[in-house]
C-alpha cells in the first residue's frame, strides 16, 4: 500500500510502486479532471501540484509521492491563486477545446504563487511545457496577468 495525501485527504492505494500517479488519480481515485496527453512529459496536460509545485503526473512514480501533498485540478479552486486563475479563465474565455486547460491552470496557479507580477518572460518560460493545440497562448498569458493582479489586490 502507498499512502497518499490527495487534495487534503489521506488515501491508501494498492498499486505498483512505479505506476504513474496519473493512473492512480484517474483510474483508482476516479478524478478525471487531470488529463492524459502524451505520457512522456511533453505536453503538460497531466500537470498536478506536489507540495505546491507543478509535476507531470504521467511520468511520476506513485511511490515517490508517498506522504507528499498532492493537489489536482479538482481542488486548485480552493486556493486563492487557483480561484483567481479559474475566474480569469472564464472572464477572458481562454478555453477553446479545453483538453489541455486543467494542466495550463495548474501551472499558471503555481507561477502566480511564486511571482506576484509575472512578466511575459516569466509566463513564457514557466508555461513552456504546457502545449495548447488550439493556440490559446495569448489569452492564457493575459489571463495569468489578470489573475495575478486579482490575487495581489486581496
Amino acid at each position: 500500500m502507498i499512502d497518499l495525501n490527495v487534495n487534503g485527504k489521506k488515501v491508501s492505494v494498492s498499486v505498483a510502486d512505479d505506476m504513474p500517479v496519473l493512473w492512480v488519480i484517474r483510474d483508482v481515485l476516479g478524478m478525471t479532471g487531470t488529463k492524459f496527453g502524451c505520457g512522456i512529459g511533453q505536453c503538460g496536460a497531466c500537470t498536478i501540484h506536489v507540495d505546491g509545485e507543478p509535476r507531470r503526473s504521467c511520468i511520476t512514480k506513485t511511490s515517490e509521492l508517498a506522504d507528499r501533498e498532492i493537489t489536482t485540478i479538482e481542488a486548485i479552486g480552493d486556493t486563492p491563486s487557483g480561484k483567481a486563475v479559474q475566474d480569469a479563465w472564464l472572464r477572458l474565455e481562454v478555453v477553446q477545446c479545453g483538453y489541455c486547460q486543467s494542466g495550463q491552470i495548474m501551472t499558471a496557479a503555481a507561477i502566480i504563487d511564486a511571482i506576484p507580477e509575472p512578466t511575459d518572460v516569466d509566463i513564457d518560460q514557466g508555461m513552456s511545457g504546457n502545449i495548447c493545440r488550439c493556440g490559446t497562448y495569448v489569452r492564457i498569458r493575459e489571463a495569468i496577468k489578470e489573475a495575478a493582479k486579482a490575487v495581489a489586490a486581496k
Binding site: D18, P20, C38, R56, I59, I115, G126, S128, I131
Partner: protein, 203 residues
C-alpha cells in the same frame, strides 16, 4: 474529446522521435583504460596529461556535457540538441518557476516515459560550461576554484568518485548511451591525474 486526443497524440511521435533518436542504437558502454595502463609513461607530466585525456572520454561524453551547456538551455541525446520541451537555466540552475527540473525529473529514471531522474538533477552553473571548449580548456577550468564551485583538487576527486549525479552518467536508463567505463575507473583516472600534478592537455 476522442478526436482532440487523437490530434494531440498525432503530434507526439515527432517529438518522441527527436527525444529518443538513439533508442535502439548502440547503448553499449565504451571501455575506459585503467589507471594502471599508464604506468609505462615514465614522464610524470606526460602521464598526467595522458590520464586526463582518457578521463576526457567521460567528461566530454554527452551524458556529462549535456548538462554543462554554454547557453541557457540543457541539451539532450547523443547529438546534443536543445532540451525538449523548452527549459531554461533559471536563477538557481533548476529551471524557471513553473517549469522546474523536478516538474519532470524524479528521484530515479522513469523508464516507461524515458525520463531520466536523480534527486540532484540540475544544470551546472554557467561558469562550469564545457560545451564547445577543448579538453585542455575544460581541464584548466576544472582546476580553477573560480570556475569549479570553489573546490580543491581533493574535492574534485571526491566529486568525480562519489557524486551520485555524476554516477548517473553510467546509469542513464534505456535509450541513452552510458558514459565510457565505470565511475570507479573514471575516479581512479582522476585520482592519478591529481597525483601526477594535474597537468592539462595543451589543446
Amino acid at each position: 474529446m476522442t478526436m482532440l486526443r487523437s490530434v494531440l497524440l498525432s503530434i507526439l511521435p515527432a517529438l518522441a522521435a527527436g527525444l529518443f533518436l538513439t533508442a535502439g542504437q548502440a547503448t553499449e558502454t565504451a571501455q575506459l583504460k585503467a589507471a594502471k595502463d599508464f604506468s609505462s609513461v615514465s614522464d610524470e607530466r606526460a602521464r598526467s596529461v595522458a590520464v586526463f585525456e582518457e578521463a576526457g572520454k567521460v567528461i566530454q561524453h554527452p551524458r556529462c556535457v549535456n548538462c554543462h551547456p554554454a547557453g541557457n538551455r540543457p541539451l539532450q541525446n547523443d547529438d546534443g540538441h536543445p532540451h525538449l520541451p523548452l527549459v531554461v537555466r533559471g536563477e538557481d540552475g533548476l529551471g524557471a518557476i513553473g517549469m522546474r527540473c523536478t516538474t519532470c525529473h524524479g528521484a530515479t529514471n522513469f523508464e516507461a516515459g524515458h525520463v531520466p531522474g536523480n534527486p540532484k538533477w540540475h544544470l551546472a552553473p554557467i561558469e562550469m560550461a564545457w560545451v564547445g571548449k577543448s579538453l585542455g580548456a575544460i581541464c584548466e577550468q576544472i582546476k580553477d576554484p573560480k570556475r569549479n564551485g570553489g573546490k580543491t583538487l581533493a574535492q574534485i576527486v571526491d566529486h568525480m568518485v562519489n557524486d551520485d549525479l555524476v554516477g548517473w552518467g553510467w546509469n542513464p536508463g534505456p535509450g541513452r548511451t552510458p558514459a565510457p567505463g565505470t565511475q570507479k575507473e573514471f575516479g581512479e583516472l582522476i585520482k592519478l591525474w591529481v597525483e601526477t600534478g594535474a597537468h592539462c592537455p595543451t589543446t
